[in-house]
Amino acid sequence: MTITNYLVLAAILFTIGAVGVLVRRNAIVVFMCVELMLNSVNLTLVTFARSTGTVDGQLIAFFVMVVAAAEVVVGLAIIMSVYRTRRSASVDDVNLLKY
């Protein structure tokens, strides 16, 4: 086994997350799919850190986690206020910017 395995696994997880963003309608589930994509990138970073023999990859993954946390906080707050206004958590309902 080589590190390619990890990388391919990460690619597949990323794709699953991307498809989930396209297919799911619940805003929070969509957000979770985005988190999955971020996690797959973290896996890639850690794998490359190991492969190149430097800790930089781990550090970047660490920053990704921090930023993801901040992002989740703000994103969920937004979803909450959208829910309060429109009584719906479906991404299809925020469709006013249309032709």
Partner: protein
């Protein structure tokens, strides 16, 4: 041309333990991801994702990044996913996606593009990294030859030297995120639309009913059940102490001391439990407070 391979030196072999771990946990991670995308119930989706994240945490540990693995489990899974669950409980629990897709062709296109993307990227990566050697982090965090001793010192060394600015900026980002969340979740209320504590208290006193808060269920209870009424200071049951929806029932109660408590081998110290409660003139079980029996004190 394999740029990465050309620049690398001799690598470390990946051991069988790691191989086993990978081939066990990778399917689990994939299953978690697929489960998250495919389940109808949003809470189930969250739980599947927790599953995947835990698997990834183990991967980090296996790949000589224990600090990151710990952070993954503690912060990512333990905090962020729980936050997700909180909001799901508030907001998204009832709204479940219907099976029918509203946009025409969205699903097909998504699946086709997904397969295409996975194929392209996976094949590309596989092609590019096939001969990539694994250098391993022994040299950096092994502790020998001036290197940091362990993963955390290695990370710390880099974090507070080379990535110091990023660190500071990230801390500012966190503060901003917290403030932003508060701003976003704030609801502006009309002044005077919600009574303050002071007004509530005054209203309670003026109405003359019960100035203090109502007793919760089970206060001064003599039984271990929320179906037992709380008792007012004079021993009478308080009808207001029942929680909504609970039917008052006859329940087993601890015996009163000084009446029939002698034969009970309950608490054999003077006074027993009831000493603390005080006696009230020898009544046994009071009437089960039914509806409308006696005015609540």
């Amino acid at each position: 041309m394999n740029v990465l391979a050309a620049a690398a030196t001799e690598g470390v072999e990946i051991g069988t333990g790691e191989t086993v771990v990978f081939w066990v946990l990778a399917p689990i991670a994939l299953a978690g991801a697929l489960g998250m995308v495919l389940s109808r119930n949003a809470v189930h989706s969250a739980l599947w994702l927790v599953n995947t994240m835990l698997a990834l945490g183990v991967f980090y540990v296996v790949q000589e990044a224990p600090f990151l693995g710990a952070v993954q489990i503690i912060v990512y899974t333990g905090a962020i996913m729980i936050l997700f669950l909180f909001v799901l409980m508030l907001v998204g629990r009832d709204t479940s996606d219907s099976v029918v897709e509203t946009l025409r062709g969205q699903r097909i296109a998504a699946i086709v593009l997904g397969i295409g993307f996975a194929g392209l990227v996976g094949a590309g990566i596989a092609e590019a990294t096939r001969d990539l050697p694994v250098t391993g982090l022994e040299a950096v965090q092994g502790g020998a030859g001036g290197a940091a001793d362990g993963n955390v010192p290695a990370i710390a060394e880099l974090l507070f030297t080379r990535y110091l600015l990023a660190f500071e900026v990230t801390s500012a980002l966190l503060i901003t995120a917290a403030v932003g969340a508060m701003v976003l979740a704030h609801t502006e209320r009309e002044p005077g639309s919600r009574p303050s504590q002071k007004e509530l208290s005054r209203a309670r006193f003026l109405s003359g009913e019960h100035p203090q808060t109502l007793p919760g269920p089970g206060v001064y209870a003599r039984a271990n059940s929320i179906a037992a009424p709380g008792r007012l200071p004079d021993g009478s049951p308080s009808p207001a102490s029942f929680s909504t929806g609970v039917q008052p029932q006859v329940v087993d109660e601890l015996p009163h001391t000084g009446s029939v408590g002698a034969e009970r081998d309950g608490l054999a110290h003077s006074g027993g439990t009831d000493a603390a409660l005080g006696t009230l003139g020898g009544d046994t079980t009071g009437p089960v407070p039914g509806s409308g029996e006696g005015a609540p004190r």
